[in-house]
């Protein structure tokens, strides 16, 4: 990974060769056999249940009343899409996603800059940044819930302009804030490490040249560093955004959805598992899946980067 701007590999040159000789036939067969277990497993556990969800979403089907199961076309979708709770939850999820990813991008980039420059104690910094990454999300949610806690937390006494008896989980916005903080804390390291990898591919020569030409630090950042990191930023944003859209653990632990802090994932879980409304829950599952698909498509289009190329896949 020494080249700064490795040209994308030409796929057609290698992949398009006709399977003619015995050797390549054998290779083709071996390749397919080697990927088969993984492919079969992935299809069985994701594609098949997803189709099942698609099918179940057309039924009124509650586990507590299995005899009432009835085909009702798209009524479940109509129920969901006309419910204000669904839109409130979608808004919450989108808000959490946009805010956390934006903040993480800034903090993560700052972290990456520092880690890129630090010449001492690299092990220490790497270790401490990996701890939030590795820690169980539920544990991180507990740590932050207790930190923001009215009775036992340190946040109220440490942060200026906050009353000592302020209840962070007593209102919508403070509770959302606490959830976002825990999410940002837990996932910034991932962002920082991806950005660091991108940063280390920016050519030092180019930066040196820009410096010699009299570019300020700010100009170097915007004209040299960031444009050369586009692929890394794109991958980091895409993965973090889709991950943030699935937010569930923090909310489950910190508020249980109280104060209108529920996310779409939480709503889907509540309908499917707690209420055992498999029909309605399946409709929510399908909608969640579609929105993630739409989101992924949107981000890839927005950044106009071929993902397979960005990941170096042939």
């Amino acid at each position: 990974m020494t080249a700064t701007q490795a040209p994308p590999r030409e796929d057609s040159a290698r992949g398009g060769t006709a399977v003619d000789s015995d050797r390549s036939k054998a290779e083709n067969r071996l390749g397919q056999r080697l990927v088969a277990p993984a492919v079969v497993l992935m299809l069985l556990v994701t594609a098949y249940p997803m189709l099942q969800a698609l099918y179940l979403s057309l039924f009124r089907y509650r586990l507590t009343a299995p005899d009432d199961r009835e085909f009702i076309w798209f009524s479940n979708y109509a129920t969901v899409l006309t419910d204000s709770l669904f839109w409130q939850d979608t808004w919450n999820t989108v808000l959490i996603m946009v805010v956390t990813v934006a903040v993480e991008l800034v903090i993560g980039f700052a972290f990456a800059m520092v880690m890129h420059r630090v010449v001492f104690a690299r092990g220490v910094i790497r270790t401490s940044i990996l701890i939030p990454y590795g820690i169980i999300t539920v544990v991180s949610a507990f740590a932050w819930q207790f930190a923001f806690s009215l009775n036992n937390g340190f946040v109220n006494s440490w942060v200026p302009f906050v009353e000592d008896n302020f209840n962070w989980f007593g209102d919508h916005w403070p509770a959302m804030f606490a959830i976002m903080v825990s999410e940002i804390w837990k996932t910034t390291p991932f962002m920082a490490l991806l950005l660091l990898a991108g940063l280390s591919q920016v050519s030092e020569d180019m930066l040196e040249a820009a410096k010699v030409d009299g570019a300020t630090w700010w100009q170097r950042l915007w004209k040299v560093i960031l444009p050369n990191m586009r692929a890394a930023i794109m991958v980091a944003v895409l993965f973090r955004a889709l991950d943030a859209y699935r937010i569930f653990d923090n909310i489950f632990v910190m508020t249980k959805g109280a104060q209108d802090t529920e996310s779409v994932s939480f709503l889907t879980y509540r309908q499917s598992i707690e209420q055992v409304q498999l029909g309605l829950g399946s409709a929510l599952s399908v909608l969640l899946f579609l929105s993630v698909l739409l989101l992924a498509f949107g981000i890839v289009k927005l950044f106009r980067v071929d993902l397979a190329q960005a990941r170096g896949e042939g």
């Binding site: 060769t17 390749g31 940044i129």
Partner: protein
């Protein structure tokens, strides 16, 4: 580098350490606070009277607080479930992923792009949308509330990451050695097993760490597809733990349990930080 940059880097260095470690120190501090202190409300950071009682309660060592007799048993069960489920899922996922990644990095075959696209799609898949159908299916075929009921989906959702990490590692391997072995009369399979596996071991190990982290951390499926301590994992057990007083969360006990389950993570990070960083970023940023 000028002195100014050095100062900035120093400040940044300290800020990163504080930001990353403060909540960890906080939860450790909390785990040493007794019920008297947390019950009465103690907004101070460090415990005023440090006690090991929370650890005794959670691990069932020595005298346990009255009303918390069942805590240790449930927690140890959850630890056992988490440990074995994560380990088995990691082991199997890495085997599957190694085979697939070898094929992707090395061989030409039809459908390669399809496999990669599928892995990418699954990496982005909203796990929650599978919870309902899987719950229904697992109940029908008897996998609900069993170890395999969690191991199978964990394998599935870690395969994409493992496949990418491994194929990125495999591309860096000197493949001439494999060809040399083939020239010497080895088949593709023998070349894979005898030559490449030893070379690929570090990459495989990294993929295993990342997979283990995922399984150890997973929560949605763990609360949805289990119902008893027979198969409930640590994150699920922690979230359901209310303690003797439903109106007052057992801060100290939860904190102690959190510390116990974070210790393995910290040990793995300390030992293998370089590998983990390489694994997280390999394949993610190229070109």
């Amino acid at each position: 580098m000028s002195n100014k940059t050095n100062a900035g880097t120093w400040i940044g260095f300290v800020l990163i350490l504080v930001w990353c470690l403060l909540p960890v120190v906080w939860i450790i501090s909390l785990s040493f606070k007794g019920p008297g202190e947390t019950g009465a409300g103690s907004p101070q950071f460090l415990p005023s009277e440090p006690t090991l009682q929370n650890y005794r309660d959670i691990l069932g060592i020595g005298k346990v607080t009255p009303g918390q007799e069942a805590t240790a048993g449930d927690f140890i069960d959850a630890l056992r479930n988490s440990f074995f489920i994560s380990l088995i899922a990691t082991f199997l996922a890495v085997i599957f992923a190694t085979l697939a990644a070898y094929a992707i990095a090395r061989l030409e075959f039809k459908g390669k792009r399809l496999v990669l696209t599928m892995a990418l799609a699954i990496a982005m898949f909203p796990v929650v949308s599978l919870v309902g159908p899987l719950f229904d299916m697992w109940r029908t075929i008897g996998l609900f509330n069993t170890w395999p009921g969690l191991i199978i989906p964990y394998m599935t959702f870690t395969l994409p990451l493992a496949i990418w990490t491994l194929s990125a590692f495999f591309r860096e391997i000197p493949w001439e050695m494999e060809q040399a072995a083939q020239v010497d009369g080895a088949t593709s399979w023998q070349a894979f097993r005898k030559v490449i596996v030893p070379l690929a071991a570090p990459g495989v190990f990294t993929a295993a760490i990342l997979t283990f982290f995922f399984a150890w951390n997973e929560f949605v499926l763990a609360i949805s597809l289990t119902s008893t301590t027979g198969s409930r994992t640590v994150p699920a057990q922690l979230s359901f733990f209310v303690g003797p007083d439903p109106f007052n969360p057992p801060y100290g006990t939860l904190a102690a349990a959190s510390v116990v389950v974070t210790v393995p993570i910290i040990v793995i990070v300390l030992l293998f930080q370089r590998k983990i960083v390489a694994g997280l970023t390999s394949g993610a940023v190229k070109g």
